[in-house]
């Protein structure tokens, strides 16, 4: 590509820009700040699949106040980066969960709540359930039937620790 100044650039301009942006984002100060920002802005999407949703609501309520961890329940999946599978997941609801998960922007995380999220719980060996870890990449499991709000808060802290330790992989979008 010939420019007016007489320089010649070889290769795909968009690809070069993307690589440069990726290099910059992976550098230490920006990466640290970005991970810190993600850690304290985990917004879960409102997706109540079962009775654990009551405990989820109690966690965000004034008594346990999960918002102090940056945990703000939000309505639309497009603005959220965390998904809590609240209890058992039927096959029909599993499809909806997959659609909601696909709509969320990267980077995104999944927490599975209750023994139903682990291995079916009281619905173990049923014809109509699916385990969340079979269809979604679950980061943290919370055992309990249902788990106490403290346990949910603990899971949020564990996820924050995990992000701090392992970092988040973000695909930088370069070019136009």
């Amino acid at each position: 590509m010939a420019c007016s100044g007489g320089f010649i650039l070889i290769g795909e301009l968009e690809e070069v820009a993307r690589k440069a942006a990726q290099w910059l984002v992976e550098k230490t100060p920006i990466k640290t700040i970005r991970d810190w920002g993600i850690r304290f802005s985990l917004w879960p999407v409102h997706f109540t699949t079962a009775c654990c949703g009551a405990e989820f609501a109690a966690t965000s309520g004034p008594r346990y106040d999960a918002e102090r961890y940056g945990f703000l329940p939000f309505t639309a999946p497009r603005q959220c980066n965390l998904m809590l599978i609240e209890g058992t997941l039927t096959k029909k609801m599993g499809r909806a969960a997959k659609i909601v998960y696909d709509q969320m922007p990267e980077p995104k995380f999944v927490i599975a709540m209750g023994v139903c999220g682990l291995d079916g719980g009281i619905f173990w060996n049923s014809y109509n359930i699916v385990r969340p870890w079979q269809i979604l990449p679950v980061e943290v499991f919370i055992p309990g039937c249902p788990p106490r709000p403290e346990a949910v808060a603990r899971a949020i802290l564990m996820l924050q620790e995990k992000i701090k330790k392992e970092g988040v992989k973000v695909e930088a979008r370069g070019g136009t």
């Binding site: 029909k92 499809r95 060996n125 014809y127 109509n128």
Partner: protein, 159 residues
């Protein structure tokens, strides 16, 4: 209202319909042939039973039949509010078809749909009949039938 009084009332209400009235495990029961189900339901509605409490299917694989049970009761007649009557009809297991009672008791719409979903009994004339609890594209044996095999999991599972 005592059981004997309910049975007397049922006998009076269902005169002219071919049916078997009796008491089964404490519940006044009316057994009818599937062809007479609609007529019996109409007569019951006229005598004050105005809603369906539940619709269930019972599978009898040895006899090759499925028994559909309607539990009916009343809101409008004070003496019938505490009475529950079972209306039973048996259909063939390989072609389970029954006339829907949606036209007589609208509260049976979703209950019949659930029976269709889990037992595979088809109700002709029910507008709400579709996959309700199972995935929309579910195919195969309905899960509450006796010959439905659930996968063996846990310590009993064979590799």
């Amino acid at each position: 209202m005592k059981l004997e009084e309910v049975l007397e009332l049922l006998k009076a209400a269902l005169s002219g319909v071919e049916c078997l009235i009796g008491e089964e495990s404490g519940i006044p029961t009316v057994r009818v042939h599937p062809e007479n189900l609609l007529e019996a339901a109409k007569k019951l509605k006229e005598s004050g039973f105005d809603h369906v409490k539940s619709v269930t299917g019972l599978d009898y694989p040895d006899e090759g039949e499925i028994e559909v049970v309607y539990h009916v009761s009343s809101y409008t007649k004070p003496e019938l509010t505490k009475v529950i009557v079972a209306l039973k009809a048996r259909v063939k297991r390989d072609s389970p078809k029954l006339t829907s009672l949606y036209g007589i008791w609208p509260s049976s719409a979703y209950l019949e749909s659930e029976t269709y979903d889990l037992m595979g009994v088809e109700f002709e004339g029910n507008p709400k009949q579709r996959r309700l609890l199972l995935p929309e594209d579910y195919e195969g044996i309905p899960p509450l039938r006796k010959d439905f095999k659930i996968p063996v999991e846990g310590v009993d599972a064979v590799e």
